[in-house]
Symmetry: C2
Subunit: 393 residues, 2 copies
């Protein structure tokens, strides 16, 4: 235990990103390990949102639409672009992840008229799967569940598109985006990556890997706030053929012309639908400022170190009392999942002790480590508290 204390103190003292925690409004009594579900609020968000209500909305009123708000989906998208390895003009923020998955899957199916199958990673985030099923029904295609390791078994001439998650939300396993993308491309199909559990905390190279389409959540590791809108990546080479099934005025070439027929905007704006949600976009916009000048390799290194240290603590303090589900090697995201038959109750007991993780049915405890604000001390306190509640039965 002493050794773990020393290790935590030393690692925190030497952490080059430690200064970032002060950017977040976190209760010092709480160990918050659920940033993979809802990121913590950057301090500057509350005041800025209030200012937008009072000044931009209250003083400028309708004039803020052309002056400040209309382009916010693209403007905020440009802040996300470097975090996912996208050159400018290819990321837009609009609607929820579910709605965006719908847009990109329908668009991908439309790009491949002769191919009638949608491959979906069987361990996908549930809402992605529900939406994929609806897309299959509306486009007359067939859903094919797949294990990412065995993609070759299902990919073929009938595959229009494969929807894959970079990080498995239950186990925390990180998939090899380069390898899986190459497999899908070898079959002549397009790949859609769901980046919900990876964007912002590890280097992603969408352009370099020639990924076709991607969608990601902004309220997890990107700290955009509860229900902040998702982002969509459509590379330049596919924008002309991207036909959005939700062609609202937001994606129109001339939205304010109020033209009777839809003509898509030439660039990434065509992935928008209706009126953008300005208060939530503002919170996200401000939250993303924390990434200014950050090196994602350093963020990733800290994420691996934090999760590794947490697993060491769990090994030492809990031993065989609990099972570590998350891969021990580098193929893991920034969460550690543990399995225990009383997972739900344990998460309840931890929460009562101000250690916050989450429960995923039927028996998984998840702990997300946000490299921007979590400490090695957090990891140790979480493991120690877990050991207490497990041994208390």
């Amino acid at each position: 235990m002493t050794d773990l204390n020393e290790r935590a103190a030393k690692a925190d003292a030497e952490d080059p990103l430690a200064y970032l925690r002060a950017e977040f409004d976190l209760d010092p009594r709480v160990v918050y390990l659920d940033g993979n579900s809802l990121g913590a609020p950057p301090r500057r968000v509350a005041g800025r949102v209030e200012e937008v209500v009072r000044e931009q909305w209250g003083r400028r009123l309708i004039r803020s639409w052309p002056e400040l708000w209309w382009d916010a989906p693209e403007r905020v998208g440009e802040k996300i672009a470097p975090l996912v390895g996208a050159a400018p003009g290819q990321v837009v923020v609009a609607d929820s992840t579910s709605v965006d998955i719908f847009k990109v899957l329908v668009a991908a199916v439309r790009m491949a008229p002769g191919r009638r199958e949608i491959v979906v990673d069987a361990a996908t985030f549930p809402t992605d799967g529900y939406i994929a099923e609806s897309v299959a029904e509306l486009t007359g295609t067939e859903l094919v569940p797949a294990v990412v390791d065995d993609l070759d078994d299902v990919l073929g001439e009938r595959t229009a598109v494969a929807l894959l998650n970079q990080v498995d939300y239950r186990t925390g396993r990180l998939y090899d985006m380069a390898a899986a993308t190459a497999k899908v491309h070898a079959a002549g199909a397009r790949v859609v990556w769901d980046l919900c559990h990876s964007a912002g905390v590890l280097p992603i190279e969408l352009d370099a890997l020639e990924v076709d389409l991607a969608v990601g959540c902004t309220y997890k590791f990107l700290n955009g706030g509860p229900g902040s809108p998702a982002f969509v990546y459509v590379p330049h080479r596919l924008q002309a053929s991207f036909r959005n099934p939700l062609p609202g005025w937001g994606g129109h070439r001339e939205p304010f012309a109020m033209a009777p027929s839809y003509e898509p905007a030439p660039g990434i704006a065509r992935a928008r639908a209706g009126t953008p949600d300005i208060l939530s976009l503002t919170a996200l916009d401000v939250a993303l400022e924390v990434w200014d000048g950050l090196d994602l390799a350093a963020v990733r290194a800290k994420g691996l170190a934090l999760t590794g240290f947490f697993m060491d603590c769990v090994d030492e303090l809990l031993g065989k009392a609990i099972e570590v589900v998350t891969p021990r090697d580098e193929w893991r995201g920034h969460q550690v999942s543990l399995r225990h038959h009383q997972a739900r109750e344990l998460i309840g007991e931890l929460t009562a002790r101000e250690v916050i993780g989450d429960f995923r049915p039927p028996d998984v405890l998840r702990f997300g480590f946000a490299p921007l604000y979590n400490t090695y001390g957090d990891a140790l306190r979480a493991a120690r508290t877990l050991a207490e509640v497990v041994s208390a039965g």
Copy 2:
């Protein structure tokens, strides 16, 4: 002119709703007549949104989802329900108007398998028309444009659903919801009403008229803030057959069970899609408090009186120099549209003089009158300023 001054002063002095203006954060130098496009901010919104960021998000973090946020779409929907004549359990707030139009049109087409036509009011709000076209493509149905006055010409055995706007956004004309609904029903079809330009400022009787489905915007007369989410009405009798084409986890029977297959929630929640946008829902929730205890008949009476007085002012101060497009009788909403070949320039000149209306191509000036905060003095100053800029050429 003196007479108009006296009329305005008297009407404002006698206005039973005059006390409500103090609820809004409006610059006294500005005459704001664009509440039909973006409502003004109720004073209490800015502080409450900041509080949600600091307290609910910052202190409670993920715990706020089950405690406070998850049901917000239904909770805020219940505040809108009485404004549109809906009994509890039939209104939910989620996504944008465009996305919601998509949901209800697809759902309506699915309810009528043998019928292959979607009738859309030809003067519909453009985004509604774009979405309807996409729905037709995805469901293999045909779009049939119609003039509301001549609905009988197009309704028939092939009609699945008719999408109609209660108020024409260009002319301000108010349509007879009872008559049009009865016509659609006589053809055995379902009607979807777009309430974007009417909700909150006139009595609407969705239940009593047996309207099938409805969608409305919350950032116009409901003052929810820029891009606040729209609402959907699905009456109890159609909920079991409402199949949402955007079946995100938000509409799942057990959203937190993370089940592999989609099972819709039993009630109105099935019209939700992805994660609800809490900051915008909060602003809307607070904005709706202004309606507590308000009589919509009184709101409507003031709207008619304000628009009527404005037209009197325009007649007297501008005469034949401008054309009034909006109906003079009671079949008008709460806006007055004027036609002038220099409409765009005139709106620019008015804005420079702190009188804010808006321009709709090619030649329409629109002035929205929000009965909760506009005054007869606003109407007179707007007409007077317009007369000045018109006579200045």
